[in-house]
Symmetry: C2
Subunit: 182 residues, 2 copies
DNA sequence: TGATGCATGTAATCCGTTACATGATTCA
DNA sequence: TGAATCATGTAACGGATTACATGCATCA
């Protein structure tokens, strides 16, 4: 799957501008398993629109570039449905943290502690974002989705398991709610 | 971190050819959090050697290209240590599965079931690989490492949590040891 | 006999990120 | 006053994958 399907998917829930799509990805449920930058979103939107899978409407703004609000077309919905029914590719997970920990015998205790703290803080951050999405902050179209609870549950489970494991290995981590990173 | 550090890291444990490095990544503990293809490994090795971070030795083979066995140099060790002590980048996790599940209202029950089955099978595969690494199959240099137990434990914990979650949502999965994928 | 494993490498290509360019408004 | 937010877009660059090219040995 690519950014194209991602944009189509988000726009199937609510119309939005490129800027808003990025924000949704950064702050919403998506965050921990998807990322995308302006450099990929804007061109994708332009292309999708050219192909007739999206329609655009320009909203004038004061002292800002026009806001281009995109909406999915019927044709877009068809293409999206087709894209989603393909068996999803295997999850991709890359972790420098685990690589470093595997070679921990080459590091000082300080370095290891720092890496553990950073990893723990990252996990807590993701966890917090998921919890926030039930409350305010997130768009209703997203959180009211039948799939939203499942996805949030999956993320919560996995992240919590990882955090627990780290805390078990290094109990001091439990107290550090704030970032030990940098 | 990049493939360069990865190669340096593996070669700090045992000398190996490009082919063997690939195999180690595919079949070893690394598998679930790192991947690399020949197209990136071979050029990296050539470059690292040119920079004096590795040394090479050619082993003649019958009816095959010479096997080039690389070993890390003292300079390479220094560079590796420096590379590892940098605070690791945040884990990257991408999941088409979760995206599809978020939009499950657009899919048939068959498609959802297939996606769940595939995800579960993938998790079990990764889990099995981790368990195998304690037994035969894997190089001792890897599994005897002080960090190996930690990394295996982390992977086991996270993957098991994910699999449990799926089984809880869809109990039929427990019986399917074999692949329901495709 | 045909797939799989051993073994190395290159070139084309893809997909995406980073940095750059622009600029007003609002909040601290 | 300076940072952050809103807002869109392009160009350069990076990093890796895929496919291609080659070819013997072994196993089923």
């Amino acid at each position: 799957m690519n950014i194209r399907t991602l944009c189509l998917g988000i726009l199937s829930l609510q119309e939005a501008s490129g800027y808003e799509i990025k924000k949704e990805i950064e702050e919403g449920v998506f965050n921990h398993f998807i990322d995308a930058s302006y450099g990929s979103i804007y061109p994708a939107l332009t292309q999708l629109n050219a192909e007739g899978l999206l329609s655009v409407r320009s909203e004038e703004q004061l002292g800002r570039p026009d806001k281009k609000v995109y909406a999915i077309t019927e044709e877009g919905k068809t293409v999206l449905a087709k894209g989603l029914s393909v068996v999803p590719a295997r999850d991709k997970y890359k972790s420098e943290f685990l690589f470093v920990m595997l070679l921990q015998h080459l590091l000082s205790k300080q370095d290891i502690g720092r890496a553990m703290g950073k990893q723990h803080a990252d996990l807590m951050e993701d966890l917090a974002r998921i919890e926030n999405c039930n409350g305010e902050n997130c768009s209703d179209e997203m959180s009211n989705l039948p799939g939203a609870a499942f996805v949030a549950g999956y993320g919560r489970t996995v992240l919590r398991a990882a955090a627990d494991y780290l805390e078990q290995c290094q109990p001091e981590l439990k107290k550090q709610t704030f970032k030990a990173a940098e």
